[in-house]
């Protein structure tokens, strides 16, 4: 007879990334002996965790009022002690659900201010947090007129997308003329599941382009107290190749103690500005001459292998933190040492995969902690943004060494396309 299960946690699953964080979350919930209830919309490809769930609710996870209603009804005869999500497109609904049911979680206004990139900027401006210049865009004509206001280059992106979809970099007045007309088409290149979540189809945000190294910070926020668990350095400027992110290294060989203090302080400022009270946040910054300046605030665990990398480096499982915050359980965020850890993404590009070179060589490299290949021979990749061919996690003695290993992997494994 199995031991009595401790708590019941509702996991809201939605389309749109979160593959690894979902796995980490489910793994922790099972290990902790919690009862798992999954809320997901039937017909979506979200049934891979049904076998580990104690119950599955087929609900419209994209309608916050409906989700809250259905879960509230379920809770009248079943326990639910906490509700969490690791999916970008379920962040707001889960916050609304938690607030409606009196569960601990991120407050809905903070969730909205993170999901809506314009409102993030407004919140920072109101609190006087240093940031890039920005402007609201409603038409291609707006784009053409922004050069004087923002300076070249500048970035234009949809208000509440994710995964680097629909982003334009405008380098010159000529670019503004030529590329502005692509705004709508760029948006259409996003996966179909983006559309029902796009409540601001006629809006974009334009931001001054920031030069400098790009980093991201994984933050655990408990009653408004922010702890920065790990800082990943993306190492290589990712403003080419459709803004795809290829590397992440933690701790970074380029971040000294003084810079780390600035990053940690800026994280706290940003999260306070948007009213972030409870949960895990993934903040992205450029390190400009005047300090870390926010690119995006995401009210969830970072994507790709950020959670795995953080765990390997610090011993802290972000998904466990998320659950413990939801259940109001004590957190132990002690980090005795940091193992230099890096991951890299091997991109395919767009086309039909003829051959994959170097996969075995990379899999067998020294220090590989995880290797996952998503794209194989014969697969058809419709757009480069969709082309995460493989992902590899390394560890090493030093940060430079671990980055070198990741670089070698990227140079070794490649996809031959037709």
């Amino acid at each position: 007879m199995s031991a009595a299960k401790r708590k019941t946690v509702l996991v809201v699953l939605a389309d749109g990334g979160g593959h690894y964080p979902q796995g980490q979350l489910m793994g922790y919930l099972q290990e902790a002996g919690h009862r798992i209830v999954i809320a997901r919309k039937g017909g979506e490809n979200q049934d891979r965790f049904d076998s580990v769930a104690d119950d599955v609710l087929d609900v419209d996870v994209y309608n916050p009022s409906r989700l809250s209603t259905d879960v509230a009804e379920y809770r009248r005869s079943n326990a639910i002690d906490g509700a969490v999500t690791v999916n970008e497109f379920a962040v707001e609904q889960t916050a609304v659900l938690c607030a409606a049911l009196g569960l601990r979680g991120l407050n809905p206004t903070a969730a909205t201010q993170c999901r809506n990139k314009y409102l993030t900027r407004i919140a920072l401006e109101r609190r006087g947090v240093d940031q890039a210049r920005f402007a609201l865009v409603r038409s291609s004509r707006d784009v053409a007129e922004l050069g004087d206001r923002l300076g070249y280059p500048y970035i234009v992106k949809p208000m509440n997308y994710g995964g680097s979809y629909g982003i334009l970099k405008i380098e010159s007045p000529r670019d503004a003329q030529e590329l502005a007309g692509r705004l709508g088409a760029m948006r259409d290149e996003a996966p179909a599941y983006f559309l029902p979540n796009d409540h601001l189809p006629g809006y974009w945000i334009a931001e001054q382009y920031l030069s400098g190294m790009e980093i991201c910070a994984e933050c655990v926020v408990d009653d408004g107290r922010c702890s920065v668990i790990a800082i990943h350095d993306k190492m290589v400027p990712n403003d080419s190749m459709d803004f795809l992110e290829q590397y992440a290294v933690t701790p970074s060989p380029r971040i000294d103690a003084a810079l780390e203090v600035l990053i940690v302080a800026r994280c706290a400022e940003v999260l306070e500005a948007v009213g972030y009270d409870n949960g895990v946040a993934h903040l992205e910054f450029r390190i400009a001459e005047r300090g870390p300046l926010l690119l995006e605030a995401n009210a969830r665990i970072g994507g790709a292998l950020i959670a795995a990398s953080t765990l390997n480096s610090t011993g802290i499982r972000l998904a466990e933190c998320l659950v413990k915050i939801a259940l109001n359980e004590p957190l132990d965020l002690t980090i005795p040492s940091r193992t230099p850890t890096a991951f890299c993404v091997i991109y395919t590009g767009a086309g039909t995969v003829q051959r994959v070179h170097g996969a075995d060589a990379v899999r067998n490299m020294q220090g590989v902690r995880m290797f996952e290949q998503f794209v194989h021979e014969g697969d058809i990749i419709s757009h480069a943004v969709n082309g995460d061919g493989a992902i590899v996690l390394f560890e090493a003695e030093t940060s430079q060494e671990v980055f070198d290993r990741a670089s070698t992997a990227v140079a070794t494994m490649r996809y031959e396309l037709e």
Partner: protein, 417 residues
């Protein structure tokens, strides 16, 4: 010259249209910004305010962005955000949070707007809440009726003005009435709600056989004070749950019931987490005990705002702004009797309305509110077409005012075909 302070932001119309409230708000010394639906014509009120923005009020996200953008572009400092319209209270709560000013609370307003979640939030208050259940099929209704052993009311989760509400008196009626409930639709309401009407599930609750009253209250920092209680006098029943009368103070509401209503209103709003604003909470009273049937995070519709004003001297709309600005609201100095009567044209096209001209100059009628005109097509009696009369006098009793208003109402004759 009055030094203009920061701006009061108002979304939608609703009760804002009552009592020349825009003038009262402007008198507070702030500039005023009004956000109206894209298709709205510029109203006389709007022309008197400093800023007017037309936005897609059916899309909360885009409204928020458009308002923030406008305020940035015009260097507007927001002092308060309010809405007195059912369909904009959520926008106002979100914007209050975004601008960092005192508001109702986003979750509280969303909870009120979803009738099921409002009951869920108050589920511990079993003495004053009818039993309830979420229903998706006729069979769910049947089981619920067996559990409560009596008739039930079933309604959509987030509409307004009794739209789609059905009473199911016996088990034999379940199939037919559920079909009516599930099939109820209104393109106009759908358009106003921008596709946010929750479909596929409904609220069923125990029918409380009693008279209907409402509590008009204001809440400041979570502390609620009820300043008027209206009695609807006549049974509010099918087919359209029309409210033909309301009066205050009611001879049927004695001091014990009044204290009970005040306490329950405070408890319910506390359970929902309502922080700041005006509310209109509806009850049925059975055996001297009030049961909550609706919680609205806004002033009551029709002439409720006028009625409270003529009875107590408090303009709820102005008070709603004052409390958001952190000002004290004085206790009502009086409680004069008020009677409101509504007259509804029959279904069809209104060909003539007789008797209005005399009422316009009738000194016994304090407010004449005409919401229809010759040529209007009335699809459903009581929906979007009515004439409301309000009479108040400290020298008269409720019964005297009722007789007076009835005689005036009887002078109105509609011809409809």
């Amino acid at each position: 010259m009055v030094q203009m302070k920061s701006t009061i932001l108002l979304l939608g119309e609703g009760a804002l249209a009552r009592l020349d409230s825009v003038r009262a708000i402007k008198a507070l010394g702030h500039s005023v910004m009004v956000v109206q639906p894209l298709a709205a014509a510029q109203s006389a009120d709007a022309r008197r305010v400093e800023h007017q923005l037309f936005a897609d009020l059916t899309n909360l996200d885009s409204t928020v962005v458009a308002v923030v953008e406008y305020c940035l572009a015009h260097d507007i400092q927001i002092a308060a955000v309010a809405s007195f319209s059912e369909f904009c209270v959520e926008h106002a709560a979100v914007l209050a949070d975004v601008f960092g000013v005192r508001g109702a609370g986003v979750t509280a307003v969303r909870t009120c707007r979803n009738k099921y979640l409002a009951r869920y939030a108050c589920r511990a208050l079993t003495d004053c809440m009818p039993r309830f259940r979420l229903v998706r099929r006729a069979e769910d209704v049947r089981r619920f009726m067996e559990d409560v052993d009596g008739p039930v009311i079933a309604k959509p989760l987030n509409t307004a003005a009794s739209f789609g509400v059905v009473k199911i008196a016996t088990l034999d009626e379940v199939e037919d009435k559920f079909s009516v409930l599930a099939g109820s639709s209104d393109p106009q309401l759908d358009a106003i709600m921008g596709g946010t009407m929750i479909k596929g599930c409904w609220l069923a609750e125990e029918y409380i056989d009693g008279f209907e009253i409402s509590a008009e209250s204001y809440t400041i920092d979570g502390q609620t004070r009820t300043i008027a209680i209206h009695d609807k006098l006549e049974p509010v029943e099918e087919p359209h749950f029309l409210e033909q009368y309301f009066v205050t103070p009611s001879p049927r509401v004695d001091s014990a019931l009044e204290e009970s209503v005040k306490a329950i209103t405070a408890d319910v709003l506390g359970a929902i987490g309502f922080r700041n604003g005006i509310t209109h909470v509806e009850f049925r009273v059975k055996g001297g005990r009030p049961y909550v049937i609706e919680v609205n995070p806004r002033p009551g519709g029709g002439l409720v705002v006028d009625s409270v004003y003529y009875s107590t001297g408090v303009n709820l709309v102005e008070a709603g702004i004052r409390l958001l600005l952190g000002e004290e609201i004085a206790d009502p100095a009086r409680r004069d009797p008020v009677v409101v009567r509504s007259v509804f044209p029959d279904e069809g096209t209104i060909e003539s309305i007789v008797g209005l001209e005399e009422l316009e100059t009738d000194r016994d009628i304090n407010v004449l509110d005409v919401k229809c005109e010759v040529g209007d097509f009335v699809k459903t009696r009581g929906i979007n077409a009515e004439i409301n009369l309000l009479a108040s006098s400290p020298q008269r009793t409720i019964d005297e005012l009722l007789a007076l208003v009835d005689s005036k109402a009887d002078s109105i004759v509609f011809t409809c075909h």
